[in-house]
């Protein structure tokens, strides 16, 4: 660690810069939450009169309930389907050696690099050519084009650290293909599957460009927010905005605490490993 490692000053500078950029990343979220407590119909800063009235109105609003329900249904279905497709996709991406794998790796990642607005419009044409009326169900399909590749990438990172000898050992001991999948492959890949699922859910929940062209008459939360920002502004915009911000934060916190708990339990069960030198 000594020798070429940087001296103290650059380390402090790098740490300070990192903290500054992290603060920068959270400025807009703080702005939205702050604004949501302002009483004024049109926002002015500094805020002179505070209120939680807009939260009460948002909770009572039936149209907001519809929006939340649509967004939730889309995100939940996207998560389930994406994880299933990406689980096998990741095995093909990283686990098995097969002819055509390199080409598959490149092609499967293309949608991530693709402009989402253009993809959304192309899908709109595609659905209309196939005679499918767009609704929240077609939005599930549209989101998956972009999210499945991302989840494949996330699960693949887990698969790369997978020791293939474990599966072979189980086969040698007489396990069937299904047993190996259930007892060896799935448990080892579960951290990747869980983080892939969380990403799938939240990316779908927050997606705007794909939803815009694929939901038809239905509307998701980000679409509604955009529509109201452009015309017909109401203070419910920052309110619903900060509700989704806190929603995402709560989901991530729960996941993080669950992860800490699982790790603590594993350590408790195998003290020999934790204390090994």
């Amino acid at each position: 660690m000594a020798g070429a490692s940087p001296t103290r000053l650059p380390r402090v500078l790098i740490a300070a810069w990192t903290v500054a950029v992290l603060l920068f990343l959270y400025i807009p979220m703080m702005a939205v939450v702050l604004t949501s407590f302002s009483k004024a119909r049109y926002f002015r800063f500094p805020i002179t009169r505070w209120t939680t009235e807009w939260y009460a109105r948002t909770f009572e609003s039936l149209s907001v309930r519809d929006l939340l329900w649509t967004s939730l249904s889309v995100a939940a279905l996207v998560t389930i389907f994406s994880v299933i497709l990406a689980f096998f996709g990741a095995l093909a991406f990283a686990r098995y050696d097969w002819k055509g794998r390199k080409l598959y790796q490149r092609l499967v990642l293309l949608p991530i690099f693709f402009p989402q607005a253009v993809l959304g419009l192309a899908l709109l044409l595609w659905f209309s050519a196939l005679g499918i009326t767009t609704s929240w169900k077609t939005a599930v399909f549209a989101h998956m084009i972009w999210i499945v590749p991302i989840v494949i990438l996330i699960i693949s990172i887990q698969v790369y650290s997978f020791d293939a000898a474990l599966e072979e050992a189980a086969f040698d001991l007489g396990a069937s293909r299904w047993q190996v999948m259930k007892e060896i492959t799935l448990p080892i890949m579960s951290p990747g599957i869980v983080s892939g699922g969380i990403f799938a859910f939240l990316l779908s929940w927050g997606n705007f460009p794909l939803s815009l062209f694929s939901t038809g008459a239905d509307q998701t939360v980000p679409e509604w927010l955009y529509a109201k920002m452009v015309s017909g502004y109401t203070p419910m915009v920052p309110t619903l905005g900060s509700l989704t911000i806190s929603g995402a934060t709560v989901v991530l916190l729960i996941v993080y605490l669950a992860w800490v708990a699982v790790r603590a339990r594993k350590r408790g069960r195998r003290p020999d490993r934790a204390e090994a030198p």
Binding site: P28, A31, F45, Y96, A117
Partner: protein, 282 residues
């Protein structure tokens, strides 16, 4: 057929078929529409090049130039912003690196709309920045929203993680021993950076720069929400051709040009790097 018997092929099939139907299909159709006569909605007309000619001779080069300029500018701003942080995350922060990763990833999971709206509130006339400066120092900075710098701020803000995370992967591929050896042989810090770090971290640097470039090229929300009417980017033109103008062939031509431009760049990148090495650290 023996090839179909491989477990890898069987595992690849579901996602491959899905993307064939949902990704390759629509793109081929857009390609087809780009050769149809103007303002037609079917694919059975006689193919023509007139859309390509009219797009090239029309003023669309302006929005293409804006998109490319802003994409290059964003990459050049983000690289120096992200490099020190990526270096810290890969080499210095130790156990704190996980926390920094999480804190940078969380905003990605909140809708881009809401985050850009937050910037609107900050930059607005009588907004947070303007209001704070007025009440503290009596200075007014009211004209900041709906300008090109506001768009650049939004682009830098939204695409920062897409530059940062590939850089972290790239920098963590540099073995410490090589840097130490270079330093022991008398290289100064700048030489170590230029001759050792940069070449070894190049796969990550390339992915970060190209991912950012391509995403900005196709971006829509930043210029609309923070830029107002200041400029038109190419994705904006694509959208209005398909929606307001109801001219699918013209929208298709613009999409095809955008797709070809980004596709060429991405494929050049893919030819130069080995994904197994970058993602799997093999």
């Amino acid at each position: 057929m023996n090839w179909f018997r491989q477990p890898g092929v069987a595992a690849a099939l579901p996602a491959a078929i899905f993307l064939l139907v949902g990704f390759a299909g629509p793109l081929l159709m857009v390609f087809g529409y780009s050769f149809m006569p103007e303002k037609t909605f079917t694919l059975d007309q006689a193919p023509t090049f007139e859309n390509y000619i009219s797009v090239v001779t029309d003023s669309y080069y302006i929005s293409f130039t804006w998109s490319i300029t802003l994409a290059i500018l964003t990459v050049f701003l983000l690289f120096p912003i992200c490099y020190p942080i990526a270096y810290g995350m890969a080499k210095l922060f130790g156990r704190w690196a996980n926390l920094v990763t999480a804190l940078i990833a969380v905003p990605l999971l909140i809708s881009e709309n809401i985050r850009l709206f937050g910037w609107v509130l900050v930059l607005l006339k009588n907004g947070i920045l303007d209001g704070a400066l007025q009440s503290l120092f009596g200075i007014s900075v009211s004209g900041m929203l709906y300008t090109v710098p506001a768009i650049v701020l939004g682009l830098v803000y939204v695409y920062l993680p897409f530059m940062l995370f590939p850089l972290v992967i790239g920098i963590s591929m540099i073995p410490d021993a090589v840097k130490e050896a270079a330093a022991d042989l008398g290289a100064n810090r700048w030489q170590v950076f230029r001759e050792v770090e940069l070449p070894l971290a190049m796969p990550g640097i390339l992915i970060g720069c190209i991912l950012t470039f391509v995403l900005v090229l196709g971006s829509l929300a930043e210029s609309k929400i923070l830029g107002g009417q200041a400029i038109v980017m190419i994705a904006d033109d694509v959208e209005s051709a398909f929606t307001f103008a109801q001219n699918w062939p013209k929208g298709s031509v613009l999409s095809v040009l955008l797709i070809v431009l980004s596709g060429l760049i991405v494929f050049t990148l893919f030819r130069r790097i080995d994904l197994d090495q970058v993602i799997g650290r093999r």
